[in-house]
């Protein structure tokens, strides 16, 4: 049997299925599915989605414990299911609410279509300088991972990263607080995943930065227009540029080579998040970003 035999065999299927497929939508009109052929009331679909959401909460929780990585970083939400697109089908994307964990068919990975990911090509990276706070007026506080989780209301830890990298941060952050009012003026979380053994000063790895007050060192995209990509319901601006590394030829000033830098900026749970990677492949980077958003490591890239 070959593909054509199978394609041809489909001709013998039940005519009811063919009639059903003929009755949905038309070439010229966009008709939401289910309008004509709905057989089950919508609330049943929502209830099923809610049950599966609850099941996934448990699976994500136990998976995180099993991995043993930064347990304090894993914060689970209220368990409310995300929006359901159709009463018949579980959403293929995670819900847009930052509080709820990803909803998926528990037996199958999240699928992310690489064809729908747009990488904006950049000329380079511009970074702001971190602001200076007068120690007479402001004090630094060290927040541990639990305090950070409570403050942000969710984790920004990557649920997946390439095997040669390791998480170097403890999940805590140094916050700057106004001595008089107690107002937090600086709250940047920084999680570093790096291959410390990489044989070059510019190590392979990525950094996740998050802030509720706004990142002061966020990357500036240098193209006139940028396209966003939908990653499980979150709008993400992806960027890429190639940067040179030395030593540089003393006569021609030619670099020894070039390495890839990938960037991703998005908002999640009321925080600004920026992910920057050195020497990762595009697929590795997109998968890591998707795992931060969905909080699952079970992601399969298609169309890569």
């Amino acid at each position: 049997m070959n593909g054509e035999n199978l394609l041809k065999s489909l001709g013998g299927i039940d005519e009811r299925f063919v009639a059903e497929a003929m009755s949905v939508g038309s070439e010229s009109r966009r008709i939401p599915f289910g309008a004509e052929t709905e057989r089950r009331p919508r609330h049943i679909g929502v209830a099923v989605a809610a049950c599966l959401a609850a099941a996934l909460i448990a699976s994500v929780f136990f998976a995180s414990l099993r991995r043993g990585a930064s347990e304090g970083d894993v914060l689970l939400g209220s368990g409310e299911p995300g929006p359901v697109e159709s009463p018949y089908m579980l959403p293929s994307r995670a819900p847009q609410t930052s509080e709820a964990p990803a909803v998926s068919d528990a037996s199958e990975p999240f699928l992310l279509d690489m064809g729908a990911i747009h990488i904006n090509e950049q000329e380079g990276i511009v970074s702001d300088i971190a602001p200076y706070y007068d120690p007479a007026l402001y004090r630094d506080e060290r927040w541990d991972a639990d305090a950070v989780s409570e403050y942000f209301g969710r984790s920004f830890a990557s649920a997946w990263w390439p095997g040669d990298l390791a998480l170097l941060s403890d999940g805590g952050l140094k916050a700057t607080v106004n001595r008089e009012s107690g107002e937090v003026v600086w709250d940047e979380l920084c999680l570093v995943y790096r291959d410390e053994d990489y044989p070059d000063p510019i190590k392979r790895g990525f950094t996740v930065a998050a802030s509720r007050l706004g990142l002061s060192r966020c990357c500036v995209y240098m193209t006139d227009s940028t396209e966003t990509s939908d990653v499980f319901g979150t709008d993400v601006v992806f960027g890429h540029c190639s940067l040179s590394y030395g030593p540089y030829d003393p006569d021609t000033h030619e670099p020894s080579g070039w390495y890839d830098v990938y960037l991703a900026d998005f908002e999640l749970g009321g925080a600004q998040v920026s992910v920057t990677a050195n020497r990762l492949t595009e697929e590795e980077f997109v998968k890591a970003v998707a795992s931060i958003i969905s909080r699952t490591d079970d992601i399969e890239l298609v169309g890569a």
Binding site: E15, A21, V302
Partner: protein, 184 residues
């Protein structure tokens, strides 16, 4: 004109049945044939074949859904025409569909032929267990040979969702065929 009246004309051996069927379903059948065959000329001949075969089959056949019945005849007629062509003349789109279907076959190298009606029955069981939306996506792509973009527009969902759904369905069909002993 509704299907029952058109079928009634077939039963009365009234040639108006042909023009009524053509008026109601001709465009969709022509589009289906053209999707599989590429050329408008071949598609028009296939449409004529379809109507002639329907004329010969009704009665005694009394289809529950005239549109689906005619589409089934049209699809078979188009595949017969494809078989008469040389492999080089196969449409790129058909080649693409064939390649996608290949991914559903547990062991495509075995070369053993599966019984077509048994295979269709097995696919019926697979389709019956699917949620309606997934079933429609599968049929629009592999039965009607719609492009990803056409399926997306017809159902009012994103192309990305169509692609990921089809990816999952191919994997699921492969498992299903394996479980039913189609290790062909």
């Amino acid at each position: 004109m509704d299907d029952e009246r058109i079928t009634g004309l077939f039963f009365a051996r009234d040639e108006a049945a042909l023009s009524a069927a053509s008026e109601k379903y001709g465009a969709a059948l022509l589009r289906l044939a053209r999707r599989l065959l590429g050329s408008r000329e071949d598609a028009e001949e296939t449409l004529n074949d379809t109507l002639l075969r329907a004329w010969n089959a009704i009665p005694p056949a009394r289809p529950a859904s005239l549109g689906a019945y005619l589409a089934g005849i049209c699809r078979r007629a188009a595949f017969e025409r494809i078989e008469r062509r040389s492999a080089q003349k196969r449409l790129a789109e058909l080649v693409e569909l064939t390649a996608e279907m290949e991914l559903c076959i547990p062991d495509p190298r075995s070369g053993t032929e599966a019984d077509e009606s048994e295979l269709a029955e097995s696919i019926n069981r697979f389709l019956a267990d699917l949620p309606a939306e997934q079933r429609v996506i599968f049929l629009r792509r592999y039965w009607f040979a719609d492009s990803i973009s056409e399926v997306s527009q017809r159902l009012g969902i994103g192309e990305s969702k169509v692609k990921t759904t089809l990816f999952r369905l191919r994997k699921r069909l492969r498992k299903h065929l394996e479980s039913e002993g189609f290790n062909v």
